[in-house]
Amino acid sequence: MTFIWLWTDFLLWVLFALSFYAIIKIRQNDLLRQKWKKIFSQPLALSAFIVFSFYILIGLTDSLHFRFDNDTTAYSVLDRVLLPALEADEKTYSTPLNYQQFSKEYLENGLRGRVHLNLVSQQINSPSENYSQIFNISIQALIYSIFAIFILVLIGKKALAINPSIKINRVAFITLFGVIFFCIWTILMMPNYHILGTDKAGIDVFYKAVKSIRTGMIFGLLTTLLALPPAIILGLMAGYFKGKTDDVIQYIYTTISAIPGILLIAALVLILQVYMDEHASDYASTLERSDLKLLLLCVILALTSWTGLCRLIRAETLKLSELEFVQAAKVFGVSNIKILFNHLMPNVMHLVLISIVLDFSGLVLIEAVLSYVGVGVDATTMSWGNMINAARLELSTDPVVWWPLASSFIFMFVLVLSANLFADRVRHVFDPKAGTDE
């Protein structure tokens, strides 16, 4: 077994490590700790955060790729978990949790009827048998998850004994229970059912929707990560050095933001496509090629989105550099670089944080739009945009093939909603201007 490190895998794990580092730093800093505590004191924000972290967890398990020695296909850890759904070789559409295909066709015996799905046990032959099995599995899942939460509570009690300042929160508790139940239910369902049905080519929709999480994650997180260095460095420099430097930097970002964003993205992607077409033989596999395209797409988005944050940081730095502690540092002969990074940068980090959380949902949403315009991720990459794009044509069928569209909708909605709710709270706590309303 060999591990394969795709570019985006690598960057996602770097990001993970960075946030781990940030958590340690935050724990050391009293003020920040207070602020984060304040964030999580709102039940809604806490449950949003739990859901959000759950998504991230799935995205991370999908970012560990490896290949068996006697095989040419690369799998991620998530692929192995979802293997039953992936390998059940269905022919075409089936509705969620069904045991038969969606449309009728001629069977071996010459009659017209619905073909039994490969994944579902052959013993199930009527809707009532089907329902009772689903019911049984669900009950099982419920029992297991109650057991799991019970253990968690026991552990939690111990933790409470150590640190009595943590309060158990009812809403968060319910969310946690929901997430655990969902996990267990899915794991139990997976080998027996196509949870969200199958698509036209007989591929499990749940598998596609879950695999799309990673794409959404990468869009939302990597783009901002890539946009941060230019935004912070240029923003700080413009605000601190002023004069010519400021003029040049202002000129650069005004010029870039003057170009209509979506057009600039579209143009860049078109060119990227031509380029990748020409150099198609350089990429060893489909996976690597589509991954590179995904990464470059994030780079392109970052190129067009760093300007907003840069402007904010510049304005903040302008204000900060007039303050005493900066002036004092200058007088003491501290080098410019040190002032920039040791004195100014920590004081604009709240802006960075707000912009990360705020941009996240927008970036996830824009992926779908880009796919529609035809400049989105590679067609072989599983993403919600690609799913929506394919599914919108299926809406003209009758009876409507609604589940691919609905699945992508729900998965995307939950992620974006939790990100938005969390972002709201973060801004509320960190942004002095937004803090006035409650």
């Binding site: 170009i259 057009l263 929506i388 309303d437």
Partner: protein, 325 residues
Amino acid sequence: MWTYVFRRILYSIPILLGVNLITFLLFFMVNTPDDMARIQLGTKHVTQADIHSWKEEKGYNKPLFVNTNESGTAVLTQTIFYQKSVPLFKLNFGHSDSGRNINKDITERMWPSLALAIPSFIIALITNIVFAMWMVTLVGTKLERITLILSVALMSISGLFYIIIGQKIVAGLWHWFPVSGYQGGTESWRFVLLPVLIGVVAGIGAGVRWYRSIFLEEINKPYVNTARAKGLSERQVLFKHVLRNAMIPILTGVVVVIPSLFMGSLIMESFFSIPGLGSYTIDAINSQDFAIVRAMVFLGSVLYIIGLLLTDISYTWVDPRVKFK
């Protein structure tokens, strides 16, 4: 004031130059004229000679930046960069790669775009402000929390869903509106009604929250309490004072987009077959007509800069305290 406007216009020239250079680099350095020829000449029986004569016809056979075969200023002017960039500043976009006059197409296609964009913009502005005001009056109630969460939920839905579902159900099943299409003149309103409606609903979540935060910031200022103390009714306070004073932040966000309305909506127009500039751009992207994409990029930048200018001017109009520097 006019000298200020003039100075601002002068300042925008280098920005447009930069935009021009960027788009030029994008389109010509990576995508060679040979590629463009192949895209445009189609699929069957294309020879190298055809490609050559196409390039000559469209003026793509010159060097990119420096023409060493010429002398004097012609070294710079007889190049693709000069020939293809300078006319842009006169808003002369020339011909598309498929041979059509872009200016003519733009003037034809701007009307449907405006017919869709202007009502969407105005109706969205009014509904958003009205709802935001209403939410401000709810501060502290349970209903406020519900509406707040509802608006977050609304803005968490991808715009594509609003369009797909709206078209499918409202037009397809209920027969309220034409499913798609467009007729000019007095009948156009029937065709833009559904897209406008969808546009307003899709934007309401984000819009309401934005205006609400602006109003809340205002409402906590001391003058509001003074006004209340004077015995003005809550409605009077809101409309006469808060709205008036919230104008500046509203203007910063709003005026800048007005000129860009001209560019049309990429997705809405293509879903509803509205022959505006948005669908023009999408078509150009799909058929890889770089001349059109470039023209639209340039036009968009010009409009953005005009928007910035208008924003500054409108400040003085709303708030006489702001002076031009």
